[in-house]
Symmetry: C2
């Protein structure tokens, strides 16, 4: 068993400072449960003093029994010339009723004198008072030494005193923060080594990515004695983001012998990262280490050849270790293997030499050439396979639809759609209005199918993404539409491509409904 490194995820607090991030209380609860299941040690989930909305989250989070993680509230030291007891911010930290409190305080003398305008001595008392007050209330207290590295450069003696103040107050960890993200790994190595030697209390690291080195700074800190790492799971945060924990955990726990997660959790790193991205309504960066879609994608011919001879020739780890998937781009041989696995999910009797395997591969290649992309659209992928295997029948036929968009609008909606469908010889024609042509079409199709398939009533779309495939042809460019649907339980994604956004949406919409009906039918047959 390797040396334990505690992981504190701040996606819900420092991560919420990122541009474009706006969590609902439900989002936060979902991420908390995900990180707890994953075995993360601490989840820092809000700043009740500066954001009263966070108190609602904490009061709901109390009802959740966490398996592994400890919940932490975040706030600053008491204000100057006050007591911790009488400080509103410190009081609201108690209201959060978390077992852990993270307190940040000033370590950079310039910030004390020029930003919060107090004396160097009073700042040290603010730190020790606040930590001691919270310790006396039974909290585990983590001290975040803000701007520690800048402070240490400017006035090392004072920066160390700020840590001493926290240690004297009884802090359980002293976290060196690179708040501005301007520190280099060589500096981190030197400072962490010195602080680890100076203090009995465990040293932590909190890095930002303004120089693109937050992961390296965190890893370097641990190599030099830090035993607590703060970051956000997929790296979002103020400005260029916080240290990316998914990368750090894989670096330390998979490539090195540190214990960051329970043993059986490293394989979930990719899944957890993608899930957090989905809840946060962010696209995961394709080139993110370990978890991005390209992380184990090989394009160069020599690389593909090498990986086929010995995977470690061009891969620094086996992708299985983090639940990732090797992908060979534009390579027939390798594509075949991956496609076969999908075929077996539908029909385990097919072999790689069957003619139908060739026909499926040919069809997928045609579609990819047209601009389809099946990563993230597994339901359409499965329908393509079923169509080639003859394991598919259309549940309805489109006779025609017409969409009318107009300006000025006639009343509430700018778009309306007429649709005529046929199900088992029976025609149904109907119309609906909507915000925009796709919404109108979606509403009309569901309305038309309702009398034939009432079980579709609980299906609805949860995401609609449009990607222009080749932006240079402007409005005549091809678009790829990804639709995510749910029946409240399962979630499935379908894709359509066309130069016409309406046609692309239509294709994805039909696949979404056909897929749901197919699954329902199979469930009935197997009963």
């Amino acid at each position: 068993m390797g040396t334990k490194v505690a992981i504190l995820d701040s996606s819900l607090r420092d991560g919420a400072q990122a541009e474009g991030i706006s969590f609902s209380v439900e989002d936060k609860l979902k991420i908390l449960e995900l990180l707890d299941d994953h075995g993360v040690d601490y989840v820092e989930a809000g700043n009740p003093g500066s954001n009263p909305k966070d108190l609602e989250f904490f009061s709901r989070a109390k009802n959740i029994t966490l398996k592994h993680a400890k919940l932490a509230a975040f706030g600053s030291t008491r204000r100057h010339n006050n007591t911790a007891e009488n400080d509103d911010n410190v009081q609201s930290l108690l209201l959060a009723e978390t077992p852990v409190v993270v307190i940040f305080g000033k370590s950079w003398d310039f910030h004390v004198t020029d930003i919060i305008h107090t004396t160097l001595q009073e700042n040290l008392k603010m730190i020790s008072d606040t930590v001691a007050f919270l310790k006396a209330r039974g909290k585990e207290v983590i001290f975040d030494a803000e701007h520690f590295f800048d402070g240490y450069k400017n006035n090392p003696e004072y920066a160390v005193k700020s840590l001493q103040a926290a240690a004297e107050g009884g802090a359980d960890a002293l976290v060196l923060c690179d708040t501005n993200g301007g520190t280099f790994p060589s500096e981190v190595a030197q400072v962490v080594t010195a602080m680890s030697a100076l203090f009995e209390v465990p040293i932590g690291i909190h890095a930002h990515n303004d120089c693109g080195m937050a992961v390296a700074n965190s890893v370097t800190a641990v190599e030099n004695g830090a035993r607590h790492v703060q970051g956000t799971y997929i790296g979002f945060g103020e400005r260029c983001g916080n240290a990316n924990l998914s990368t750090i955990i894989a670096n330390l726990g998979v490539k090195r012998d540190f214990e960051c997660l329970p043993d059986n959790q490293y394989r979930n790193i990719t899944r957890v990262a993608r899930h957090i991205a989905a809840i946060s309504n962010l696209a995961l960066n394709e080139r993110d280490p370990y978890v991005g879609n390209c992380a184990f994608a090989h394009k160069g011919g020599m690389h593909i050849d090498g990986v086929n001879k010995a995977s470690h020739s061009f891969e620094h780890i086996n992708p299985d270790l983090v639940g990732g998937q090797r992908r060979f781009l534009m390579s027939e041989v390798s594509g075949r293997r991956m496609i076969l696995e999908k075929i077996w999910e539908v029909d385990a009797s097919i072999t790689k030499d069957d003619a139908v395997t060739d026909s499926i591969i040919k069809r997928l290649k045609e579609l990819e050439h047209e601009g389809y992309q099946f990563e993230g659209a597994e339901s359409t992928f499965e329908l393509v396979i079923r169509k080639q295997l003859g394991k598919y029948r259309p549940f309805f036929e489109l006779e025609h639809f017409k969409i009318i968009g107009e300006q000025p609008t006639n009343g509430e909606y700018g778009s309306s759609a007429i649709i005529k469908v046929r199900v088992d010889g029976t025609d149904e024609i109907t119309a609906a209005e909507g915000d925009g042509p796709v919404h109108a079409l979606d509403c009309a199709l569901r309305k038309a199918l309702d009398k034939f398939f009432p079980e579709l009533s609980n299906v609805h779309l949860t995401d609609y993404k449009v990607r222009v495939i080749n932006g240079r042809d402007a409005t005549a460019a091809k678009v790829r539409v990804l639709l995510q649907s749910t029946d409240g339980d399962a979630v499935w994604t379908t894709v359509g491509v066309s130069t016409d956004i309406i046609e692309a949406s239509w294709i994805a919409l039909v696949d979404s409904i056909e897929y749901k009906l197919l699954i329902l039918e199979e469930a009935k047959c197997s009963m």
Copy 2:
């Protein structure tokens, strides 16, 4: 003057190995000129041996007189049991007629025996022969030691011998490659220090980002004696990408005293990065250090307050140094300053206390609340200001339009549009077809306006981007449409937001045309 560090950009070679990258010869020539203007030392632009299309690029690149950069072709050592003279790959390197050749060879014994299947001795001869052959033809030769760090871990003696072979052949630089991207900064520091002590020939670094530490590895290498850095300007490349040169150059040249670019070029880092992203048809990652849209964006209230008191309190550098822009998100005070600068571009006499300044800010806030985003849509931003200042008149009025989308399609196109506009009391009604509703509308509008404004004939759209603002409402979500237009000379961008994609596109389309007509009118008035 700081210590010189040579920069080799491989966007056009290793970068082209990235998923989603596909350069035309024109794209490559544009990037070459951009990097040359920027003062990058070497542009590695292709592998003529493995990609015959690259030879077309090299034959066209010959006609360009470069101001600073040296062009480099990339290829492997001769094959085993052959001479360099008779090796096809080496010959095609000569055909490229570049002053510089980058040769990669094997430093990891396992790759020699198990991947290219030759003897350790023969591999060393392949390296020294190939380098010597090219040196004898007057080339500057850079040796890329593939998998150097993995090789050094496995068999340090042999890895060093591979460098010695290149040095004996006359190589001008010995570049240690972390081909799999699995090396940590602490290892880089140790190995680079050792190699710098061992060789007179300058040591270089070529890092990949599989552990999220390519930038840190490159910076650490330079701190420990490397004087040549390879990467790609915005970091794209095989798998998780190459080391991001824009970050490395800013780290070394702006935050430290190394000389990576001519002094006056650091301010262009952001512009060059965004330009390369545009040519590569990639969205620049918003959180990229220095050059991303969020790099100097402050959201936390305490951070905004701190930056206003002293910018270095929460910024590791002044954004001006890399041509970036500080942004305060959702902050009235700071927004005002930025908006005033834009207002002055239209009317320099307005002051911050004028009532109209308030009305402009109020209007912008309303629009932002509706989902507008003016970053990257400066023309719409300018039109908003002009409307509030009364410095705007509409050039045409929409009477109405109707768009019809249908399936099955009638012939070539699925969409058609009818539009009626009024210009100075004269009505014009017309119709057009298109791929999709927006294309049809765009064609119809241009056709209707043609008789009034023939000068619009050279305007066309060059990019069309659709972003779903809140994906969770699915097809009823708001969409933001960004249109980029050009008249062959200027380029301008406009934005529209609506729950209806057609309405959002229409808003952006109208702004695009109004903006062009406004600029034309002002040009006439000032003649």
